[in-house]
Amino acid sequence: MTETVLLIGTSKGVLVARSDQARQSWELEPLQLMMSTVYGLGIDRRRATPRLFAGATSEHWGPSLFHSDDLGRSWSEPEAAPVAFPASTGTALIRIWQVEPGLDSQPDLVYAGVEPHALFRSHDGGITFELVEGLYNHPHRPEWQPGGGGACLHTIVPHPTDPNRLLVALSAGGVYRTADGGASWEPANRGIQSYWMPEDQRFPEFGQCVHKVGTHPSQPDRLLAQNHFGVYRSEDYGNSWEAIENGLPANFGFPLLVHPHQPDTAYIFPLKADSERMPPDRRCRVYRTRDGGSSWEPLTVGLPQSGYHAIVLRDALCTDRGDPAGIYFGTRDGELYQSLDDGDSWQLVASHLPDVLSVRAAMVA
């Protein structure tokens, strides 16, 4: 029997909702990892029973990375800190923003993106991690700035076929990529704007505030990015980017999700501006492209269309990769919506939750 698991990271802990293959109704379980903020959720589908991850930060007791091998019924962490900066760095972990498994050919490799800006790598399935020093020691590092959410490395995109290639995004440092397994890194931001810079310096080599990057395994050279003002596409794995904003009511926002089965389909949730972080016209609208970003259309059926103020954060839009694919998003006013028809219509899964910071989902046979 197939079980669908929906992980919901909130400002007060992590919630698990369960359903079956049809996903018509959901059972919401009690809050776990209580009183921690959970920005970084991950699911390692390479195991017979997927391993779930929750990067949780307690304001009192600090950050840690928890894992679950029973689909979220219980959570564990090792005795020693799973993610910690070496003493030589003089740096301490603030938050885990991203947990991303490696390729199927690297079954125990798991990456973690953290605040302050750094990438960690695990070779034991995500129990213990080591700092990727090639990126930490990058000469640009002293010039990276924090975004509004912090100095975070929030996006990790493994190349689907080449285990030596990896792409990350930082706020505010921009997109970086490696072709040698993390030993060396180069910025990949040509064409992405830093609107806050003086007019003649708005396309720097690095320093952009890229909010999320998405890709599809069948088209590894195509990347889509939601930037701090600007939605972009690259057809050459980040060598260059072009703006793709046809049909959008605004180009600010946080999440971006590529459909798991349709490489030309992707979703974003536009906001009016960084100075007005609310949906345009106060309408809850997901925007979808069916043509790789060349045009965008609003998706509104089942979503509130007046007086709506909530936003969707960068990791609060996800898919379960099922058939049909479930698309989910959570909001900062504690609602969770799903679509089972590629976004044509949406249903409310849960409400009155703590503010939702992240969501991840998986179907488990």
């Binding site: 009183m35 307690s58 304001e59 009192h60 007791w61 600090g62 840690s64 005795e79 003493a87 301490a92």
Partner: protein, 91 residues
């Protein structure tokens, strides 16, 4: 010197349910170092990986905040009583 660490209820699962944990040290910092050997998961709740006490925690020696004494260098006498106090903070 043998001292006793008093834990708030929320931390006791990290010490097998104990509310009182014995430590051997001559300073408060040494007590936390000792804790790192015996209860590493508990110790990292109190300090970050650079040894800095977390921002929303207070450590009292008897009825004195160690921040008003010598911080982690505060000396401990035999039988010292250390209290971990989560600050009243948050939203």
């Amino acid at each position: 010197m043998t001292a006793t660490l008093h834990l708030p209820a929320v931390l006791r699962p990290s010490a097998d349910g104990q509310g009182l944990v014995p430590v051997t040290a001559t300073t408060v910092g040494g007590a936390l170092d000792d804790l790192a050997h015996s209860w590493p998961q508990l110790e990292r709740r109190l300090r970050d990986e650079q040894g800095v006490v977390r921002r929303h925690i207070r450590i009292y020696l008897g009825d004195r905040d160690i921040a008003d004494l010598e911080g982690l260098a505060t000396p401990l006498g035999e039988g010292a009583q250390l209290h971990i106090i989560p600050m009243v903070s948050g939203g």
